[in-house]
């Protein structure tokens, strides 16, 4: 039996998620943004596992497992794009990449 109540885990997950969000909004380097996204995914994973444990089944863990895998794939692609960006511009600043607009 875990020592703390479920609420603690939920609150912790929430905090991690929000802080990761701040990281996404505040940093300008694409690497930092990607890392922040990873941390947000981790927060979600924590939530999954906690509730899975509360229900007593394996669904939560399996879901977290799948999330980790997909996160790995996504990071790979994201880094590839960052590399491309860096090749083109010699510096990585997300604010300079602003052509995706009407």
């Amino acid at each position: 039996m875990p020592a703390f109540s479920l609420n603690a885990y939920v609150a912790l997950s929430a905090v991690l998620f929000a802080l990761g969000g701040i990281g996404v909004l505040v940093r300008r380097s694409p690497l930092a943004i990607l890392m922040s996204v990873e941390l947000m995914l981790n927060a979600a994973n924590l939530l999954f596992v906690a509730f899975g444990r509360a229900h007593g089944g394996y669904e939560g863990q399996i879901m977290a497992f799948l999330v980790i895998t997909v996160a790995a794939a996504e990071v790979a692609i994201g880094l590839a794009l960052t590399v491309l960006l860096f090749r083109r511009r010699k510096e990585a600043d997300v604010d300079q990449v602003n052509e995706l607009k009407l």
Binding site: M1, P2, A3, L6, N7, A8, Y9, V10, A11, L12, A14, V15, L16, F17, A18, L19, G20, G21, I22, G23, L25, V26, R27, R28, S29, L31, A32, M35, S36, E38, L39, N42, N45, L46, V49, G52, R53, A54, G56, Y58, Q61, I62, A64, F65, L66, I68, T69, A71, A72, A73, E74, V75, A76, I77, L79, A80, V83, L84, A92, D93
Partner: protein, 168 residues
Amino acid sequence: MNVLFVIAGLMAIAGVLGVILAKPPVYQVIATVFSFLGLAALYLSLQSEFLAVIQLIVYGGAIMILFLFVIALLTARRDPVEKDLGQLTTAKLLGFAVGGALLVMLAVVGLFGGEGGLAWAQVPADFGQLKPFGHELLTTNVFPFEIVAFVLMVAVIGVTILVGRHRA
């Protein structure tokens, strides 16, 4: 156990804060790993041993290495420091504001919600071990498993196409 949970939680939070606040990218990577460690400890407290190990291996051992390689690749010749890092621009302010609000809201929800009174269920002793986990994964959830494998393959191919240099 309580103390360990608190320490683990603090590690996780510290890691994220480090990502936000640190300047050099390598420091950010280290902070992220730190956070992963804390999270792994939390998984352990939830009796998900296998997942904790997977987290360390895949996240810490693969993804972060990938980050480090890219950092090395891109900033070989100079010191990659972001411009106007310390300045409080409007965007930053807004980001802090929204994010902070979200944090507060979610924390409140987390702490004071849950009238359903979800309690921890009773689980068998081998909960979270490799064998039952694997059994569940490859029987009940084999379909998503296969799809995720497919996703990984697509990612690899994609990366190759995107970044692989084409020599004539």
